[in-house]
Symmetry: D5
Subunit: 144 residues, 10 copies
């Protein structure tokens, strides 16, 4: 463990968050997501909820403020305007870290395709369906 | 996830538990333990308590009834007869799975040496000190 | 061996079944199938029948109830409506594990193509021709 | 599958049997044996009995007639003269392939040490305890 | 060496022949063939004639009787109907193992393309030009 | 880059600091140190001074308060009581992060031997001789 | 360290500069650039400014005088004719090493695509935005 | 070193020349050529002239007499009919080994493309520009 | 194939012979020798006699004339002064290549130990027992 | 090629020289030396004389002035006080780069042992016997 870094972030995930650059994307997925076959580097966090991971990741990772959509969830199949409870939880966590941002959404298969092109995936132990969220990394500006 | 297997047991840990044979040992260690430098194969489970992992592991892993000491903790440095609270928790879980067995203990450096010779290590997110336990795998007898 | 897990499931196959996610597919093939050249990860189980493996796999693997075809066999060449005896055996095993599902079928070359896109292959020792079956993994829903 | 080769012998095991030379040893072990941690190359044959494997292996592998002990089992712990039923079964199979040879035995820990120095291990699905046998490869003499 | 297996078949080639399935192809090529750059797994047998290797391979490998062309040679450039002496030798060996089959032929560049898609290549020490033959593996039917 | 983590700590070094456990040691060495041949994992930081790296590392890494010597430098050859200016600089940085600790020292060859047994080495661009320091990781205690 | 080679050039970067040939390109990027996901070999130099690296690299690397554009920066998004301060700094360094050359620029996404096709990337610790520059290697002509 | 083999041909280059088959191509390139990024296996021979390497290679490698162009150089950019002095030197060496053959040439970018598809590249220390030559391997005919 | 190099010497064996230096040893062993478990790099030449390989190897490899024993065979077990027919054949080949040298011999287990310390092993298809010979590489002296 | 770096120093050798630290040793050996079996990393420079390599290496590599013996050759076997001509050539080159240093020597087997413990070996094409020299790397002191 390290000082001031959330202890659920292990060595591999820390290295991935640090190595990502502007525009690279990481997806936190639920326990049923076909993560291993998606392609990007995979960090397993069986037993940890997606919301707990999101909170820890956003304590370190700046989101991209050059685009409108830096945090993206999957739309409910058959009811794209429905808001899943887990998404409400994601929204609350996002507000704490990035008050000016909001969550957008993608149709299921478009979501899958975007995950495949991302930098990494964290497979959580989230048991709630639709417990998936794509995060697009932003920049740290010079102190000035 | 799979039917009837505790969901916190991921693919690597499942494979390790299955590949171990009679007498092979796996150690669940706390978040401060120098696990990566110990040598055996390492599965990280940052964020999960050692007790939760012990419970899941013992639901699948038979302990060795050929020896007296199949579940071993580290003695408190400077007070070898002291019983740490986390050890009481381990004992309670052990009783649920193997009522006839009890936990034994090893002096700190003897414990380190034994871990190094084991088959694998699971690094938990256990924040309590002394949250470490060695488990020695037993046999499954023919149905007869 | 582990408690309550069918002993014919070794470490590699257990890890594969656990790592698969919703929609990933695993195919159990007979002893003559060109499995090694198909592409996906291969687990060999020479000497074990396809039916015995199917029974063990379905004791752990949930099938996909989001689609109509979660268990698929190869059609007999030249007689697509014929039902091979080994398929009857598959059907019986499927009924025991997933009473509401039934087996569908694919033309031979479509079957080959689908296997290539799957997550893994288990090469059994099944000597009966057409002893092949594709299984599509489903989800474990939250306990609620 | 190949003509005239027992189908339970897969590619890896065939290659091992062929690559071994005079005096190299292979051990067939039961399902509880700590095979993976022993060191030599490991072929898993979960679900197949040790006797079935022995019969297939001896159909191809010549045993060493330069030494007295070319087929060796583990002595029963605490009763070294006892003959386990699985050893009787081994003996019968050996007689069919090498009528002039007989099985010898080693004390448990000496057996473990010898396995570690061998060329390879086959982990069977044998559920009977003491279902382990070391085989020492012999030579094929020139046809003359 | 092993009982009843032609001694020129080493561990790698035995494993390849065993791992191939129905429809997979292996090509025995002459000493001048650009084998290493073709792509498939390569077994070198420098110094051994292609005919000697063909005889050994066919003693184990069933050919595909589901298709008309299971043994294919390269046509002489500029004279596609010419029969090279080495092809006559191949034909004689084929007759001994598969009396009902005959050798077909492919134009040179079509032959190259087909080799590239095959499972494996054996580079012989055959010094005769056109000493190349593609073999398509068949099935072993259940004993019934 | 990440929020609140010193930007000179790249992905590899972050992962190493996180993976280390209680008692594991990391050494920051100067630009002339034979780091690559010492054995432990090496992170190169050519061009960065040892003091700048020490400051960044100590902002995350807890030092071991179970032992008296958790920060150790190399003694000047021929004058073991001499205090090099770079060591004074190390001391000042240490005081900022761990006010109750002080730097100890080791004879040159004992220092080399200890580095070899450590977990990792960071090769700085430090041009000052004796710009080397061993750090022993401590624990993060439960929040209570 | 070596005589007469800038000490910030470590072993990996030296080898890369030496292995590059006529027309191969290396890009020095700022700390926010998505370097790891771009594809080419990556050398991290966290904490070192892009200008310091450019100066060191140009002390060894000849630029390509066969083309007009051998040093290329990224255009400011939304204002392609703007000259960022860091680019002025690049220009000054370039003039010292290659007085007859000047810097050209590329639109942002064209810049990304060109980086992906390059030989290598150096990720600096440059905190100024747009601190990226592509260098195209030239030839060393025979002494004559 | 070996009897009767030019000592500048080291183990890797000897193995490559031997493994190449009929029609495979190897290119000897000058010291400025972008060899490492071209793709094929690379043997570095820094400090040795291209002509010395050509002489050694042709002492072992038969050239392809099935095609008109078995030794190919790059045309001078802007003056395709010009004959570079190094090409005259190549021609003289070729005449000694293959009196009936002559050198042909390719436009620069067509030359690059052909090198990429070749089997291997030898990067010489040749300082003369245009010191590059592609060689197409021929056959060794049976002694008859 | 290459000009003037015996065609049974393939790429790997050529590279090994070339990479060996003064005093390094290579052993040609018969088909029953436990070559794969001996340790040194192994080249298989199933189907080729040891004498044919010896002749090809000695056409390239200088033997060590700094020592008395540069070609060594294994003594017949139980009859150390006996001369096996295959050793007579080795002697004849040695005389053709190195007329001033003769073959010496080693007791069986000393022979095994020496092979283990050698540079490489060639496993021939030699069916005659005792068809093993160690060769110690010599130097090529400067032309003077 | 790079500006102001001797062109015979390729990427691997440059990286090795740069990665070595104070006290690490590199040995330049002649063409007959058993370099590949010695253990340390090997760079082949077939065809280049040891003296040419020594001159290039010393243009970059500082020698160790903390010890008396930083450049060491092998003594002539049977005549330890004899000075080989190649050693005179080494001495002359050393004087140009390090006028205050001189060459020392080691008995043959002590020399071999020391090479084995070194950081790297460069195998030259040096045909003169005893063309071997060990170099011990020194430090670059701060500019002050």
């Amino acid at each position: 463990m390290l000082k001031s870094i959330p202890p659920i972030l292990g060595p591999d995930l820390l290295a991935i968050l640090r190595a990502m650059g502007h525009g690279d994307e990481i997806t936190i997925v639920d326990a049923n997501f076909p993560a291993d076959s998606s392609g990007p580097a995979l960090v397993r966090m069986d037993g940890i909820s997606a919301t707990e991971i999101l909170d820890a990741v956003l304590s370190l990772l700046p989101l991209d403020d050059f685009v409108d959509e830096a945090a993206i969830v999957m739309q409910t199949v058959g009811d794209p305007t429905r808001r899943e409870p887990v998404v409400d939880a994601f929204e609350g966590i996002l507000q704490q870290h990035e008050p000016s941002m909001s969550i957008s959404s993608l149709e299921r298969f478009a979501f899958y395709e975007r995950v495949k092109k991302g930098y990494a995936i964290v497979q959580s132990g989230e048991s709630r369906l639709y417990g998936n969220i794509i995060l697009k990394k932003g920049v740290i500006r010079p102190a000035d």
